[in-house]
């Protein structure tokens, strides 16, 4: 029986070669695009899963509210939690806390600035065990740390790093106890160095036990089988036990647990680390990828049932010699399985060949990622099995319903087939509209007036070797004076952080306006700048003055933005100028000397926040922002390089353009939009293939009718028009379905952005026109051939 089924399936696939090829082509397109999407999706869902028992690891998130209004929602929590959990919650297998900082590292003559260092608690490796290739991970004493394989090669060259000392920020000699294998790219822990935070305790920067004010990432690893809710309850119990100070100004705090694998999804909370994937975009991608495959299967079902009409006699014969409906269904199932497996094999080969090209094209670090073995194939097989079942069950029912009488091939279900074509077309139009809206939003974000001008601003990483130098400000001033003496350079300032970069660490502060009477719970971002700030970024000074040129003029002077003005309780910019404010917990009087306009310091996903600028030279190396005339950019860059090298002999010039740097924030959106474009093109292609197949089938069926019409005087153009009319009426109906659906979907998507583009009518018009033209072209090209044929050929066998 099996042999009969398989032999028949193979032979009938070969017999209807054109249909089989069209089917195969559509399936391969659908499966291949789906396979690549799955590859990426599995990558996104495997973040941090390479850590042992990763499913039991959580980060503790922290929320503070005041009279019901949330004032802090973030990933950072008090260090005090670390000791409290360690000592009081036995069902936690291990826990750790960490602080992330960009630091300068030095070994002999080799310097690197902006290195990602994670300052960690002792036993941190119990939560996140790293793959050590030399030595061990040991954070039990001050001044101990480990380094990644790549970083070790760069810093220590050929020397064995274990036991050697690297200098951090010019003041902390750290002994390397081990080298770890580079982590896969899909981890939220992007650090290349892990150093014991006890170093800071020893230096007296902070206490041994840690306080309860926040600022650290706390992780816990639950024991197997222990409910996390119970532990969370205990953790929340610490609020009452250790944080009574919150009640003093009516604040309430609570903790929550976020699973490790979710940490790289952007939650929109403060102080996330390595969060760079927009979750809803990922879900959209999954839906789009599934729909692409769905369109391919619709093709399969449509073409198979269409074909079944020509094959109805054969099927009736099988029934006559004793085949039951189940037998007939098995037959169609076999064909479906063979075709799908064949398509799957081709797709998988394409996938294996172009895996790396795909990663490069979409700029995803897939090659270095940890992909759980077997997952991709498993998902694919499951989905394909589902598809085979779905398509062959429908086909089987269709066959069973076929008329019994030999020679009469009247079969119903044409309406349903048209319905399927409409669904395909509607999906294609929806994809097209969505892709266009996504692009429109990205270009809107890239082109919107930010309130500052980033075009023409060069951002240089501050010289790391100057960090311990007491003369660093004077050296900067010398560099600045010389570079501005060239005609191409207009203005320059130093900064701790620059636009497009999330302000982290010590730059988050609370400010107090004593005259307002109440303490504000708002987090402000404090930046450093000099008198070049306003001209470099072309910010508007609304009231008051800029910083003076000389440092002595500006001690304890600050500039604030409009948002800060409002948060501090001032009525208008003029009122604020000359008033004093304080950093919370600090008695230094800061005088507001000027107020600047609000601008977007970060991408348009985020609202504008309060900012304060002081005139202190960056406490680490910071950035130098320089406005340059873009006319002679190459010449200016050459000048910048030579001036830099003269002033900062130990540090390479490391620069980027501020506008490009800012647009990096839209990387996730850009990547997804690139995905969408490709999936849209493919789905339209597959739908067109399906349409083509159906036309081929229709033309064979209407061969005689066309011949008769021509014999009776119809011109070829009239015949083409007639056939077009049939097909295009379905497509017009699919517009009617697609427009409201895509309008609703894109409206919902745009809600993700604080600032958004509008849904213009022309997006719909263009999408409609495009799909319509493709359909008309397909139908006309194919039917023209049939219509211009000599009718005798069609009628010969009558």
């Amino acid at each position: 029986m099996l042999k009969l089924i398989i032999i028949s399936a193979f032979r009938s696939l070969l017999k209807y070669k054109q249909m089989s090829l069209i089917n195969l082509f559509g399936l391969v397109l659908g499966l291949t695009s789906f396979l690549f999407s799955v590859y990426y999706i599995v990558y996104e869902y495997s973040f941090d899963s390479f850590f042992d028992k990763s499913e039991n690891i959580y980060r503790i998130n922290y929320e503070v509210s005041k009279q019901g209004e949330p004032i802090y929602q973030g990933a950072k929590s008090p260090r005090g939690l670390f000791h409290a959990i360690r000592e009081q919650i036995p069902e936690v297998e291990a826990n750790g806390c960490a602080y992330f900082e960009k630091c300068q590292v030095l070994f002999e003559d080799t310097y690197y600035a902006n290195q990602d260092i994670l300052w960690v608690s002792e036993d941190f490796e119990d939560v996140f065990p790293l793959d050590m290739i030399a030595g061990v991970a040991d954070y039990s004493a001050p001044r101990l740390g480990i380094i990644s394989e790549t970083a070790a090669k760069a810093l220590f060259h050929d020397k064995d790093p274990v036991g050697r000392i690297m200098e951090v920020n010019g003041e902390m000699p750290i002994e390397i106890t081990g080298v770890f294998k580079d982590m896969p790219s899909n981890t939220h822990l992007t650090a290349k160095y892990f150093v014991s935070y006890k170093t800071w305790v020893e230096m007296g920067i902070m206490g041994e036990r840690g306080d309860w004010s926040g600022g650290w990432w706390n992780y816990i690893k639950m024991k197997k089988g222990v409910s996390k809710d119970q532990s969370l309850q205990k953790i929340n119990g610490f609020v009452e036990m250790y944080m009574p100070f919150l009640a003093d100004d009516h604040r309430e705090a609570s903790f929550s647990l976020q699973p490790l694998k979710d940490l790289h999804f952007i939650q929109g909370i403060d102080g996330e680390m390595g969060a760079n994937t927009n979750y809803s975009s990922l879900i959209n991608l999954i839906v789009v990828a599934l729909f692409t495959l769905f369109i391919a299967w619709i093709n399969y079902v449509n073409l198979s049932t269409a074909q079944a009409q020509t094959r109805s006699l054969q099927i009736s014969m099988r029934k006559l010699v004793g085949a039951s409906n189940i037998h007939v269904w098995h037959q169609s199932l076999a064909e479906s399985i063979i075709l799908n497996l064949f398509a799957l094999t081709i797709s998988f080969v394409i996938y294996l060949i172009f895996k790396n090209t795909f990663a490069d094209f979409f700029n995803i670090p897939l090659k270095e990622a940890y992909i759980p073995p077997g997952n991709i194939l498993l998902i694919l097989l499951a989905i394909v099995a589902l598809g085979i079942l779905f398509s062959s069950i429908y086909y089987g029912i269709y066959l069973a319903r076929m008329n019994y009488i030999v020679g009469k091939d009247k079969v119903k279900g044409g309406k349903f087939k048209q319905g399927l074509v409409m669904v395909q077309m509607a999906l294609s139009i929806i994809f097209l509209i969505s892709t266009m809206v996504v692009y429109k939003q990205i270009s809107f974000m890239k082109n919107k007036d930010l309130g500052i001008e980033l075009n023409g601003v060069i951002l240089c990483t501050g010289p790391a070797s100057l960090n311990p130098d007491p003369q660093k400000r004077e050296k900067y001033q010398g560099f600045k004076n010389e570079i501005l003496s060239f005609a191409g350079f207009e203005s320059a300032t130093f900064n701790v952080f620059v636009p497009g970069m999330e302000p982290i660490g010590y730059t988050q502060r609370e400010f107090v306006n004593p005259e307002q009477g109440v303490t504000s719970g708002t987090v402000y971002y404090e930046n450093s700048a000099d008198d070049g700030l306003i001209n470099t970024y072309k910010i508007d000074l609304l009231a008051g003055n800029n910083f003076g040129i000389s440092r002595r003029q500006n001690i304890n002077d600050v500039l604030i933005n409009q948002n800060a003005l409002k948060q501090l309780g001032f009525e208008n910019p003029e009122e604020a100028v000359g008033r004093w404010i304080f950093r919370r917990g600090d008695t230094t009087r800061l005088e507001i000397i000027g107020v600047v306009n609000d601008f977007h310091n970060e991408g348009l996903q985020k609202p504008i926040y309060p900012m304060v600028w002081n005139n202190n030279y960056p406490f680490e190396f910071g950035y130098f922002a320089i406005r340059v005339n873009t006319k002679n950019l190459n010449e200016s860059l050459a000048q910048l390089k030579s001036v830099w090298n003269r002033h900062f002999t130990k540090d390479e010039l490391n620069y980027s353009f501020a506008d490009q740097h800012f647009n990096e924030q839209y990387k996730s959106e850009s990547r997804y939009s690139k995905f969408y474009v490709w999936l849209t093109i493919l789905s339209i292609a597959i739908a067109t293939i399906g349409l083509y197949g159906l036309i081929v089938f229709y033309l064979t069926k209407r061969d005689k009718e066309i011949g008769l019409r021509k014999v009776n005087g119809a011109s070829a153009i009239q015949v083409v028009g007639l056939l077009n009319k049939d097909f295009l009426s379905w497509i017009i109906i699919s517009f009617v379905i697609a427009f409201p659906v895509s309008w609703y979907a894109m409206n919902t998507w745009l809600e993700n952005f604080a600032y958004k583009t509008n849904l213009s009518w022309w997006v719909f018009a263009i999408a409609g026109m495009a799909v319509f033209s493709i359909a008309v072209l397909t139908v006309s090209l194919k039917s023209w051939k049939a219509a211009s044929r000599n009718p005798v050929e069609a009628l010969r066998y009558e």
Binding site: L4, S8, L313, R318, G322, S324, H327, Y404, V406, G407
Partner: protein, 226 residues
């Protein structure tokens, strides 16, 4: 074996009812070889289809092998087709994707006959019909007469009690037609009940009895004189 009583078969269009068969009574005994004759549109094929359970009468009663067969479920019909009725057609209707051997074998497979037994039965028939050399050919590679021969083999491989032939010689030239008719006659002599529809007077005479149908009514019904 076959008992038809007052069989009506009609089609309704908007304004009128067109009868294909009207009040047909027919009895066929085991071992008979009946030829149904008549002009085009007389209802010959419809009658054969009703007998073969491919079509249902709108009114009347039909007993096949003593069982009421006018309201059978689909599943039951499959059972009858598997074990009691064989068909041959004017256009042969072999399964294109299968070769001669497989075409003959297929009914046995659907009846779950064991491989060994299947091989024996098919080999027997190939031998008997002189088709051993052609067993690997596909229908499109055979002449009409050969195709019909395969169709006969396929129809009788399951040893049915009843063989229905709808103009089995219609697409054949006379020499081939004669060969098929001789074969049918021989099968009848071996005990198989056969009902055929034919236009050809000479071929009708191969049977033992002729039923003449005109406008859905049985006009004549007589034994063939030997």
């Amino acid at each position: 074996m076959i008992k038809l009583r007052n069989i009506d078969r009609y089609f309704d269009s908007k304004f009128q009812r067109t009868f294909v068969l009207k009040g047909v009574d027919l009895d066929v005994e085991q071992g008979e070889f009946v030829s149904i004759m008549g002009p085009s549109g007389a209802g010959k094929s419809t009658l054969l289809n009703i007998i073969g359970l491919l079509d249902e009468p709108n009114a009347g009663e039909y007993y096949l092998l003593g069982d009421p067969a006018f309201q059978l479920k689909e599943k039951k019909k499959v059972q009858y087709h598997r074990s009691h009725i064989g068909f041959i057609f004017q256009a042969f209707h072999l399964i294109d994707e299968l070769n001669v051997y497989e075409n003959i074998e297929t009914p046995l497979i659907y009846r779950n006959v064991k491989t060994k037994e299947r091989k024996a039965l098919v080999a027997d028939l190939l031998d008997r019909f002189n088709m051993v050399a052609k067993k690997d050919l596909f229908p499109s590679q055979l002449s009409g007469g050969q195709q019909q021969l395969v169709a006969v083999a396929r129809a009788i491989v399951g040893n049915p009690k009843l063989l229905l032939a709808d103009e089995p010689t219609g697409n054949l030239h006379s020499e081939q037609g004669e060969m098929i008719m001789k074969l049918l006659k021989k099968l009848n002599e071996e005990g198989m009940t056969i009902i055929q529809v034919t236009h050809n007077e000479a071929f009708a005479n191969y049977g033992s009895r002729i039923v003449k149908l005109v406008d859905g009514l049985i006009q004549e019904d007589y034994q063939v004189k030997k």
